[in-house]
Symmetry: C2
Subunit: 328 residues, 2 copies
DNA sequence: TCGTCACATGTTTACGTAAACATATGGCGC
DNA sequence: GCGCCATATGTTTACGTAAACATGTGACGA
């Protein structure tokens, strides 16, 4: 900055003002400074800027995995929301471990981020304390069934499970199998299952079994689980998959084996992934606003903290929609 | 740090040494310092650390999109490689625009990253200059057909196109259609097409047409394009898709419409995405080491810069494998 | 005419850390 | 017994920036 200042014939502070766009600057000086900066290839040092101004233009993003399209879409939303104000996401992956989440949060707080995004509402006490102590602004994403740290953007996972159950019951199905993955570490999936169970029971239906694979969710795993379910002697009416990837695998199994959907077996998934529209059979699922969830979370954190009224904890329900296909 | 030092009864510098693990520290003092830090909830400030040590523990990652599984897997590889040394990725998306890439690179350099990852070998002169001037270490990923800035990890896209063409020719196909997306902004896809064209021509085959959609690649788009191709009067022997998502869409179209593969139309894709194993028909494709590419790029940048011998520009060929399915 | 105030720039200082440069202790070889 | 060197700690300073606090214009209303 001193070099730029010398070349432009002004003080270092004036260069700082031009770069940050704060304070009064005559247009003549502004141009001189920009020209000087371009000539010597000046690149500002955000480490110094952050140190002095006690805040960096980084947003910490802590997600379970990138193996699930859901989170890559959330991340896209966040990234897009931030890019306008040249905030950048720094991120870490928890692989659905609370301990790992804590480590990541601690580590990322050392960057003095302007905000932090967490997945879901369940965090260890340690994590909550570290966040409280840092005073960083928080946005939680995907889930709104619980108590947020400050603001959560998402949908009611439990209600999604209920709506799906109700729809399947309305279609006449009574005996269900639930197919999940990740050893049940995905707490949102657990809440959907909870809602599903409740509605099924109230209507007098049965959940014959709950199969929870230890593998990460994938189409291949969904196909495997489905084959397993259908090879058993006691075939259920319908399978409720914890997400679309598993369900799509189920559809593939049936296509390959000539099992009729929904005649032989009905299915429902969750997420409303774009590729479902390309499949030969339209899956009944729940459409979730994943990108928008990320985008709104990003926008909240990108807002300069002037808005102190929003300090109170708040749940922002971005809703979901039952997408009726031909699999029920 | 001063507070921690007071509580531990040592100097600030000793605390610094404990935190960074550099220099001699007695185990007694180390424990005292850790205890004191834990008591007051000390979180180091990486902005200050980076400022003083002239280098941050961030790795800049500039990718075209997160909409393509390929790049999310590369990103996973990078993230995993970095997490061991608690380096963190900061990233930006170019949406396949060179100008956007330049802006992002400039912006990310202001974080004084320990390294930067770029997709592909083609970058604007501006971008190259900015990187040269910064002296930052660079890893380029996915492509090795060209001149790297320093080290590139990937595979020969052109050779992949050639191998695919040769395989299809061997299977007796002569009249091809190429189906791509992104308005051709994906330069790697362009190189594959180049290799494909060359091999087809040398063998006396024909590329009847090259259809390049302006949409991002997706299964839905692949199904749409395929429907378009097959509805035309002059049906080709085979379709070469620029990637698996488009090809899977093609398979879906044929499943839904009763078009026989490869009897009525043959197909090949590129990437070897995991979900292909779940499809009723096994797609012939090229298996690419995407995660490994990201991982090795991450590892290179994570190495402390002691290895000055590797300054020379270098291409690391991680290879690919033809995955023979039942679509040719 | 003078005070006021929006505009424009400059000077000094602090942000939290680690590099560079001391200093002190004690074990070990000769 | 003495010098040397590995070990262990302390003091001073600089990293690049922006906040805080000046200072200096000139237009405009009373």
């Amino acid at each position: 900055m001193d070099d730029v200042a010398d070349r432009a014939g002004v003080s270092q502070m004036t260069v700082s003002r031009v770069m940050s766009g704060k304070g009064y600057i005559s247009s003549k000086v502004r141009d001189q400074v920009h020209a000087a900066a371009a000539e010597i290839g000046y690149v500002q040092n955000r480490l110094a800027r952050g140190l002095r101004s006690e805040q960096s233009s980084l947003i910490a993003v802590v997600l379970p995995t990138l193996g699930n399209t859901v989170f890559t879409e959330v991340l896209r939303g966040i990234t897009d929301a931030l890019s306008a104000q040249s905030l950048r996401p720094v991120f870490g992956l928890t692989e659905y471990s609370e301990d790992r989440e804590y480590e990541l949060v601690r580590d990322l707080l050392s960057w003095r981020p302007a905000g932090i995004v967490l997945a879901g509402l369940e965090h260890s006490d340690q994590t909550r304390r570290a966040i409280d102590a840092s005073g960083v602004r928080v946005a939680e994403v995907m889930d709104i069934d619980g108590e947020p740290i400050s603001t959560a953007f998402g949908l009611s996972q439990k209600a999604a499970g209920q709506v799906t159950a109700q729809h399947m019951l309305d279609k006449g199905h009574r005996r269900f199998v639930y197919a999940g993955s990740q050893s049940g570490a995905d707490l949102r999936a657990g809440k959907r299952l909870e809602g599903f169970r409740q509605t099924v029971r109230e209507a007098g239906g049965t959940i014959v079994s709950e199969i929870i694979s230890s593998q990460p969710s994938s189409m291949v795993e969904g196909r495997r689980i489905t084959a397993e379910i259908l090879s058993g002697g006691d075939r259920p009416d319908a399978i409720y998959y914890s997400n679309d990837d598993l369900a799509a695998g189920g559809i593939m199994h049936c296509l390959a084996e000539g099992v009729r959907i929904p005649g032989d077996i009905a299915m429902a998934g969750f997420n409303g992934l774009p590729y479902l529209d390309a499949l030969p059979i339209q899956l009944t699922t729940i459409q979730t606003p994943r990108y928008d969830i990320g985008f709104q979370a990003g926008k909240l954190l990108a807002m300069q903290g002037e808005d102190r009224s929003s300090t109170a904890s708040q749940l922002v329900d971005l809703g979901f929609e039952l997408s009726v296909g031909r699999t029920c």
